[in-house]
């Protein structure tokens, strides 16, 4: 009964923290979107010889605040893909923060879990930014692979990168990695500490 109460409390608390973080988007959104685009340009824009870059979207709403510009090197034709820095970056970050800050563990451990969670979720977002040009096709980039492999890569990227579930499952995994220590696993699996640790 106590465990169920702890789990229920964690669920309610994490959803409250998550909602509060989302409510802060109108204040933080502009700065976050700039940071998102700058990171994207540092990761892929600079190395693409001006063929790929991230820029603010003309539409300007929160679901299309960024656009990925892809230029075909042979024809010079450009293609623009609308992106949301909120969906791709802020929401997963907020979810990880909500989960780690609400975890029923000591504050010191919670602090480190939050710090590691932020590091890993930022690495995940950076990976997504680096893979956007591959997923959406940047001139000859995608032609490096056979068509079947390209389709498979796009599908995998869609699942882990752009689908709603993808961005929710990845933060969950990151939360588990950041919060649950190696020695906690026996307790989770067997309901008791590892016999060696408890006897030593």
């Amino acid at each position: 009964m106590r465990a169920a109460r702890v789990i229920g409390g964690f669920f309610v608390q994490s959803m409250i923290v998550y909602s509060l973080l989302l409510a802060m988007w109108p204040i933080l959104g502009g700065t976050y979107a700039n940071l998102f685009r700058t990171t994207g340009n540092c990761l892929v824009g600079l190395g693409s010889n001006g063929r790929v870059w991230f820029s603010p979207s003309a539409k300007g709403d929160e679901n299309h605040d960024t656009q990925l510009v892809l230029v075909d090197p042979q024809t010079g034709a450009g293609r623009r893909v609308s992106l949301s820095s909120r969906g791709h970056g802020y929401l997963p970050t907020a979810f990880v923060l909500a989960l780690t800050l609400s975890s029923p563990i000591r504050w010191r451990r919670r602090f480190w879990a939050t710090a590691w969670g932020l590091v890993w979720i930022d690495a995940y977002i950076a990976l997504k930014l680096a893979l956007f040009p591959v997923a959406y096709g940047a001139g000859d980039t995608i032609e490096l692979f056979p068509e079947v492999l390209s389709d498979a890569l796009r599908h995998v990227f869609w699942v882990i990168g752009t689908s709603a579930t993808g961005w929710m499952i990845v933060p969950l995994i990151i939360w588990a990695l950041a919060t649950i220590r190696h020695k906690d696993w026996p307790t989770i699996v067997y309901g008791t500490a590892c016999p060696i640790n408890s006897n030593a």
Partner: protein
């Protein structure tokens, strides 16, 4: 050969911990066995979970299958939602996946079906180290609970759209989807606590 190496390792562990060494080789053997059990089920569970989820995304979310999969499920949800809204006194009509009324209308689409959270729950239960009985019961109860909760969520979203139109997208896209996935994980945790008590193998491993 493997057994000899295990015994050597067991004695090394025993040498480091004097109190364990004093209890004899049998005790050390038990500890080593427990240690092996501890390490492998976790790894196995992670691998099984990943494979099941990959299968789910590979089949259910395959580009050719995006529209057709779970169409009847979506229509059923729309139909039930319409019926409940009529019972609540609203002039709701259902046309396929569309639920409409004079005040607010919406379409039940992929993503509103709670299939992904259910897949996460089912994969996690199947991947967990428990016997078949608790797994089957857990999947049945968990999947049914998630289905019913999702049904309640859809009805709730109608009322949010009706009375707080501006908050609809926020509640629908940001809060409900996340809450549902978290619910699936919480459900798995609760099931795990229950299954641990009713699985003989795990009870044995504890002792």
């Amino acid at each position: 050969m493997r057994r000899t190496r295990s015994r050597k390792l067991a004695f090394r562990i025993g040498f480091r911990h004097n109190n364990i060494q004093a209890q004899g080789a049998t005790r050390i053997g038990n500890l080593l066995g427990a240690m092996t059990l501890v390490r492998h089920p976790v790894l196995r569970a992670v691998i099984v979970f990943t494979v099941l989820m990959a299968l789910f995304y590979g089949i259910v979310h395959a580009p050719d299958n995006k529209v057709l999969a779970f169409e009847s499920h979506l229509r059923l949800l729309a139909s039930w939602t319409g019926s409940v809204l009529v019972l609540c006194g609203h002039d709701a009509t259902v046309n396929g996946r569309f639920v409409g009324s004079s005040e607010f209308s919406f379409e039940v689409v992929r993503g509103c079906d709670a299939i992904e959270p259910t897949a996460v729950f089912v994969s996690a239960v199947l991947a967990s180290p428990a016997s078949l009985g608790p797994k089957v019961l857990g999947i049945l109860v968990g999947a049914l609970s998630l289905f019913l909760l999702n049904f309640v969520r859809i009805i709730g979203l109608f009322f949010v759209g009706l009375h707080f139109r501006n908050a609809f997208e926020f509640v629908h896209e940001d809060i409900c989807q996340t809450a549902f996935l978290l619910l699936a994980v919480m459900g798995w945790t609760v099931w795990g606590l229950w299954a641990r008590r009713s699985t003989p193998r795990l009870r044995h491993a504890r002792g």
